[in-house]
């Protein structure tokens, strides 16, 4: 990212584990997050992503392992001694303080004078476009506005790293999409590292420079959104990031003449009128058992001979007026180049 000389990572986790009693939440995790990166930790609930975030913030001590912030060991330091700030899932705004007092809080506890901190807090509020709301109480704000106050409160103390714990989870779809754009803009403007925890793969792909996919306390795969989508290395990633058709080793051998298990994205599969064989591709006969119209495309579920169901996405491009009805006999073509081998 930052040239050839080994840059100092914003965050580095070395062999970090975390157990709650008998339950292991994070297992021997190594992770490097670069300076200025928008990094997402994606995974289903219980996969350990939030725990890793809380270990970085200092809310949870790691059972073992080391946490480095900008090259410094902070493993045993309290949250208030770490140069990171967090935007909480529930925003965690202080209900007894006004918006301005909330935003100025981090400056206040650093001993900055009232007029100076109010000035900076107002500046932060302007950045999240909340001018004029400074005298309200959090209870008088909408969800999206609270979200912005939480952001302003976290960035006003100019941390090197901003941690965001599913910050958009409580917002409705429209607002969420709008906030995604604002978050991205904010990150560019501030130029600091964002670590973003989410279970929404679309959100992770949209926002991030890099994404780590978590499963059962381990990272399944780290990569750019494109790498994750195009080249999922495991069945879990293939299924969790987008939709995939998975072929087990035996299915791959019998249906696709491939030596190992692999996956293919629904939009990569073509419909063919006949069983005419293609070079470097497999053509399979099947029957449409479900046809779902989703506006920009149509999702078809096709049962191929032998009973396996394949998901196919047909883009609604101009000129392709072909109707596919339930029960119709079709042929699907899967090109070998679109197949992604899956590690066991």
């Amino acid at each position: 990212m930052a040239g050839n000389s080994a840059p100092i990572a914003a965050i580095e986790l070395v062999g970090v584990s975390k157990s709650f009693g008998a339950v292991t939440a994070v297992q021997n995790l190594d992770l490097v997050i670069n300076d200025g990166e928008f990094f997402s930790m994606l995974g289903p609930s219980g996969s350990g992503k939030t725990t890793v975030l809380r270990i970085i913030a200092g809310f949870e001590p790691a059972t073992s392992g080391t946490v480095l912030l900008a090259g410094q060991d902070v493993t045993s330091k309290a949250p208030f001694d770490r140069d990171v700030n967090t935007v909480f899932q529930d925003y965690a705004l202080f209900p007894h303080m006004t918006v301005l007092e909330n935003v100025a809080y981090g400056l206040r506890v650093r001993g900055i004078g009232k007029s100076e901190r109010n000035l900076q807090a107002l500046e932060a509020l302007r950045m999240v476009r909340l001018e004029g709301f400074e005298d309200r109480k959090p209870s008088e704000l909408s969800g999206g506005q609270r979200q912005r106050v939480a952001l302003a409160r976290a960035v006003v103390v100019k941390p090197k790293v901003l941690l965001l714990d599913e910050p958009l989870g409580a917002l409705d779809l429209k607002l969420r999409e709008q906030m995604q754009i604002e978050l991205k803009e904010l990150q560019r403007k501030l130029g600091i590292t964002f670590i973003f925890v989410t279970h929404d793969q679309e959100e992770a792909l949209t926002l991030s420079d890099r994404v780590a996919v978590f499963n059962q306390g381990r990272i399944e795969q780290i990569g750019t959104p494109r790498q994750l989508y195009e080249r999922p290395e495991s069945e879990f990633v293939a299924r969790f990031v987008g939709t995939s058709n998975i072929f087990s080793e035996s299915e791959a051998a019998s249906l696709l003449a491939q030596p190992e298990a692999c996956s293919v994205r629904p939009e990569k599969i073509e419909m063919r009128p006949s069983s005419q064989s293609q070079k470097d591709a497999s053509v399979l006969p099947g029957k449409i058992i479900e046809s779902i119209y989703i506006g920009s495309a149509t999702r078809l579920i096709i049962e191929i001979d032998g009973g396996k169901k394949i998901s196919v996405l047909r883009q609604a491009s101009a000129g392709s007026e072909t109707n596919f009805d339930r029960g119709q006999q079709v042929f699907i073509e899967i090109r070998n180049a679109d197949l992604v081998p899956i590690k066991k």
């Binding site: 208030f80 700030n85 967090t86 202080f94 007894h96 506890v109």
Partner: protein, 301 residues
């Protein structure tokens, strides 16, 4: 056969009536409310308001000093006596002082206990602690007060514990009264504060630390302001219960008397005077409640 043929008929009629009543009640909101509230309101008016008025009126009566017969000509004699009499002022101030001290002591003890219960203890331990806090409430008030009488005695455990430190038991007196009342009302103070703490999300404390506040700063700037209503709610219990108490001070208070003792002394022979004295704690509590009403603490009860 008659028996059976009568059944469906009944079965139709009764629901029809019930249905008509239901429909009526459903459409007439005010009627529904009136019926719903009639019983509790009657209770409230009779027991609370009427009782307070009766107290006020009784305070304006006088008594035949020889036969203790009540004379119902209204007079401010008793009220004036209570307002101007030195002994009443002294005892009222002492009672107020004891009530304040009990409240302060209880709050100081309750805060860390409630904090531990709500924020540190595991859910299992939390349940056990709540039971432990409530447990003393199952024992009789008198048993507990007499237990403290024996604890604080010259030959009691307190003396035995303090002797090696070169100290003596406080013995019977105001200190003993504060200790005993503090013990008696502690659960009533812990529980509202615990409930208040439960309502403070952990993320607020984490956010404060995250923004750079040391633990003490977090307690001062975030925890305490949010707990004020809960603390006031708890203080209402310890304060008002102490204001009205006369048994504990009788048992461990040595020669001291509180307002409740003056009421008890007079209730047999001079009921109007007793009523006039009883107005003092009522007025103090009324003032206190009015003052705290604005803090929202009453919603925490």
């Amino acid at each position: 056969m008659d028996k059976y043929s009568a059944l469906p008929k009944q079965g139709v009629e009764t629901p029809a009536l019930a249905r008509r009543i239901s429909t009526l009640l459903y459409s007439k909101v005010k009627l529904r409310l009136t019926l719903l509230l009639a019983a509790p309101l009657t209770w409230l008016v009779l027991v609370y308001i009427a009782a307070l008025l009766a107290l006020l009126v009784t305070a304006l009566y006088s008594v035949d000093s020889y036969t203790s017969q009540i004379q119902t000509q209204l007079t401010f004699k008793n009220v004036l006596k209570v307002l101007t009499g030195q002994v009443y002022q002294t005892v009222a101030l002492r009672t107020l002082g004891i009530a304040l001290l009990v409240t302060i002591v209880d709050t100081l003890i309750a805060l860390p206990i409630a904090f531990y219960m709500a924020k540190i203890a595991s859910p299992r331990l939390q349940r056990l602690l709540v039971i432990a806090v409530l447990m003393p409430l199952w024992a009789s008030y008198l048993v507990k007060a007499y237990a403290w009488r024996s604890v604080l005695s010259n030959e009691g455990i307190m003396q035995w514990l303090l002797r090696p430190l070169g100290l003596d038991t406080p013995g019977y007196g105001i200190t003993a009264t504060i200790i005993t009342l503090g013990y008696l009302w502690l659960p009533y103070v812990i529980l509202p504060i615990y409930a208040g703490l439960e309502r403070v999300p952990n993320s607020l404390l984490e956010a404060s630390g995250d923004l750079g506040a040391k633990t003490s700063t977090t307690l001062r700037l975030v925890m305490l302001p949010m707990l004020v209503p809960a603390i006031i709610a708890g203080s209402i219990f310890s304060f008002s219960l102490t204001m009205g108490d006369y048994i504990t001070v009788n048992i461990v208070g040595g020669a001291n008397q509180m307002l409740g003792n003056l009421v008890a002394t007079n209730v047999g022979n001079n009921l109007p005077l007793a009523a006039a004295i009883a107005l003092i704690p009522v007025l103090i509590m009324f003032g206190y409640l009015t003052a705290v009403r604005k803090t929202g603490a009453l919603e925490n009860l």
